[in-house]
Subunit: 262 residues, 2 copies
């Protein structure tokens, strides 16, 4: 049996993906009644179950809740599980979660995870069996069983400890978000003149704070360092104005390489 | 007769747009032999003509070259034109061009323009009669005849003097470009973990320096001021970390308003 705590976009997609990959056992959800109902309707889970019962019966427990809920679940789940039960999560930051699991999970076997996948739509209604296909999937420690699942759902395994994950996520994910958040109010004043560039660069600014509250709260030092490093780069650009040929060529090359590798 | 100097994406699109709007006169191009051939093949112009002859015969002269070429053309065109001939341009910065025109154009009637339209593809092959439709079109001084053309091609007239244009363009267009240029090399190091956010925010970094050289060279002070203002905003975000709820809500609202007005 597989238990999914938090059957939204990611939890629901993981359920659909393992089902598509041939998993024939039961898949249960641990979530609010409304979310359980939606996840059953979507065909993602077979039924809902309280955490204690689901944890006691599951061979794999997948925590796909918001980060603060993952931290809370980690705080209580160990008492319910059978020894050696695989527990993993899909939280967007890893250090706080892995540290909490290190303190709180002894009977279970915890492996931190972060599937680098998503879409703008939220909720289990948008869940997709192919959401992880071809996308990076970070694990913070090796685990043969979980790595087999990741291969089966078509994701690309990336091994990285929690510190390295949070440092890099600050640069590739949290920094872009904050750049867009900082830009949007500036361009609004000249909205009449705004073109595709401004629209493009303020798309992330539409993000809901619901998701970002926990990310910011659990990775503030690395985010601050990424912002400081970025400000330094902007100061270098200012110092080089108006001749930015080298910077443009280097950036275009980096952007092309990024597209080849994603 | 209408003369288009520089029959690339913008010049070609203007030619197609006025033709579609019912202009029955001759449209000639002033450009390299290869560009003229391509523009004729695309159906954008009737024929090519040297600048002196085109300027002498045209009722409307449309300068859609790179900014430095526009400046050069403005330096020599006045001797050829009949008194009162309408001359306008489509350059992405306005102060340098309008200042040069103020010094150099006495017989002709110069009005600075900037159609806020474009697409990733370049060249007359990508020209489109509807490129300007619904898009802002800045004019730096009033002109009844040109305003009529702008209405006919479906663009949205925005009146703004050259200084205001360049100050605002620095924020809504030049700043977003440089933010992407600064970001791309930083995210490249962690490309394996990059998701849609990083890809989104580095799209502009793919821009060719060919276009940006002239923009940077003719608007360095306003761009520097925009970068300085943006750095200040990033420092404010850093100081507020990890609680950015107000900033996220303000930014999301600005981004939504921007989308309503573009």
């Amino acid at each position: 049996m597989i238990a999914i705590a938090g059957v939204g976009l990611i939890g629901g997609s993981f359920a659909l993906a393992v089902r598509k990959a041939g998993y024939a056992g039961k898949i249960v959800g641990v979530s609010s009644p409304a979310a359980i109902q939606a996840a059953i309707a979507r065909g993602a889970i077979d039924e809902g179950m309280p955490l204690a019962e689901a944890a006691a019966r599951a061979d794999l427990i997948y925590l796909a809740q918001p980060i603060e809920r993952i931290l809370a679940t980690i705080g209580e789940i160990d008492q319910y599980v059978r020894p050696g039960t695989l527990i993993t999560d899909a939280g967007s930051t890893k250090r706080a979660i892995v540290e909490r699991a290190y303190q709180k999970i002894q009977r279970g076997r915890f492996v931190g995870g972060h599937p680098m996948a998503g879409k703008e739509a939220r909720g289990v209604e948008a869940a997709d069996a192919d959401l992880f296909r071809g996308r990076p999937y970070v694990l913070t420690s090796p685990d043969e069983e979980l790595e087999t699942w990741i291969a089966k759902i078509g994701a690309r395994l990336v091994r990285m400890d929690a510190d390295a994950h949070d440092r890099r996520a600050a640069v590739v994910s949290h920094l872009p978000q904050l750049l867009s958040t900082a830009l949007a109010p500036m361009v609004e004043d000249s909205a009449a003149m705004a073109g595709p560039a401004a629209v493009d660069m303020t798309r992330l600014a539409l993000s809901s704070y619901d998701i970002w509250r926990d990310i910011l709260a659990t990775n503030p030092m690395e985010i601050d360092a990424a912002l400081a490093g970025y400000i330094e780069r902007l100061q270098e650009l200012r110092a080089s104005l108006p001749d930015l040929q080298d910077e443009f060529e280097r950036a275009a090359q980096a952007a092309r390489r990024l597209r080849e590798s994603t």
